[in-house]
């Protein structure tokens, strides 16, 4: 425990510098974020009028479409699961991801997921303005993998 003024000054300078130091990431070509010493890049990226996102959709026997919630995709919080999915898609591990999710869906007793027959891993591109003004359909949707749900 810190009990002298000298130790308090050294500790204060070290903590202050440690918190401030990640600012240098802003000048790097490939900045890297960390915890708890971050350069806080959230909301700093420029967004285009279109946005592409990887996600999973399920279809029941009547061909009704249902978005698969993140809790059925992976472990952790929503953003963590989304990033994990992106990493898997970038590594082209379509089959293993979709199969794992299909297995979880097969075990689910929650409606409507308990009635799903098929899971699709997709890459959807949306026009942001159109999406929030009313048209919820993707401008483009590429199916990366299809996995039947086996019960």
């Amino acid at each position: 425990m810190i009990q002298t003024k000298t130790a308090a000054i050294i500790f204060s300078i070290l903590v202050g510098l440690a918190v401030l130091l990640p600012v240098k990431e802003n000048w790097k070509t490939k900045p890297a974020d960390d915890f708890p010493l971050s350069y806080y890049p959230m909301f700093s990226a420029k967004r285009d009028v279109q946005y592409t996102v990887n996600y999973l959709v399920g279809y029941d026997s009547l061909n009704n479409r249902h978005l698969i919630p993140y809790k059925l995709i992976g472990r952790g919080g929503f953003n963590q699961v989304r990033r994990q999915l992106n990493r898997n898609v970038n590594r082209k591990k379509y089959k293993s991801v979709t199969r794992r999710v299909a297995k979880r869906i097969a075990r689910s007793r929650q409606s409507p997921f308990s009635a799903l027959k098929e899971v699709h891993l997709v890459k959807g591109t949306y026009n942001i303005d159109e999406y929030f003004i009313g048209d919820k359909n993707p401008a483009e949707e590429e199916i990366l993998f299809v996995q039947p749900v086996k019960r």
Partner: protein
Amino acid sequence: MNGINANGWFAPVPIGRIQIIRIITGVFSLWYLTTRFKMMNALSATNPALYKPAGVMQFFASPPPPMLITVLLVTTVILNILFIAGWKHRWIGPAFAVVLLFVFCYRNSWSMVYHSYNLMVIHIFILGFAPAGGVSSLKAMKKEHWQYGWPVKLMCLATVLVYFLSAVAKLKGELAWGWLNGIAMRSQIAVDALRKNMFGVETSALFEATYEHTWMYTIMGATSLLLELLAPAILFLNRRVAAGWVLLVWLMHWGIFVLMGITFHHHLTGILYLSFLAPERWWFFVAEKLNRIKISLRAVTSGALASTKSYQQQ
């Protein structure tokens, strides 16, 4: 000048301030650990290929064994309780600060670095190494000493630096001063909402309702950037200005919650900003009021007893 840093880094403050901040921050971290215990414990079952060590977890090139994570989590919860109690703070404080750092770095080592609990971890790190232990009586809480002031000021410094860093990242990013444009801010919220929709997370109906009112986002974008950019100045300005800044920043996080559904619990509860305020004064105020009520109740009770006695004597 009567700002937060008035009378120097070592200006004496009442011990009650740092003790109250320690207790409230400790209760908050305990709430987090106990409510996320199962989820954090289950993280060890995640595909090891997704492990990307953050902070002190860089000592572990691959994910630590699940058993070690369970032991770490249980130890952290126990130390957290002792930290709140202020028991043997000389040893418990630093130990808790370090294990909590490991827990949160582990939490952030699975492909996503969150930005909502950085300051809680930093604040507890400061409190852990500072003389913030014990629980004092009301009278003792008013005792002033230089040892109790600097950690609170350091917490304020860390907080304003984090806000400042957020502003620098925005200005150095692709958006730069375009952040002041309402469309840029709205597009950030829109992308977040779109992602959430695709992953079955509920989003704010208010955002869709206000989507076409760009002027609202211009005001919010400019205000938030200014609040972040000017944050360090708060340390040198009048305490009331600092309190005003705290209020506006707190409202900004509530705005983020309402529009984006992002719950920065540490910010929304106001616990993050305790170091800018003087929470011991609220405690003194409540305790004095309670004391007065107690005295009046005693007077009423003894008066009633005396009149009963005189009635019986008659």
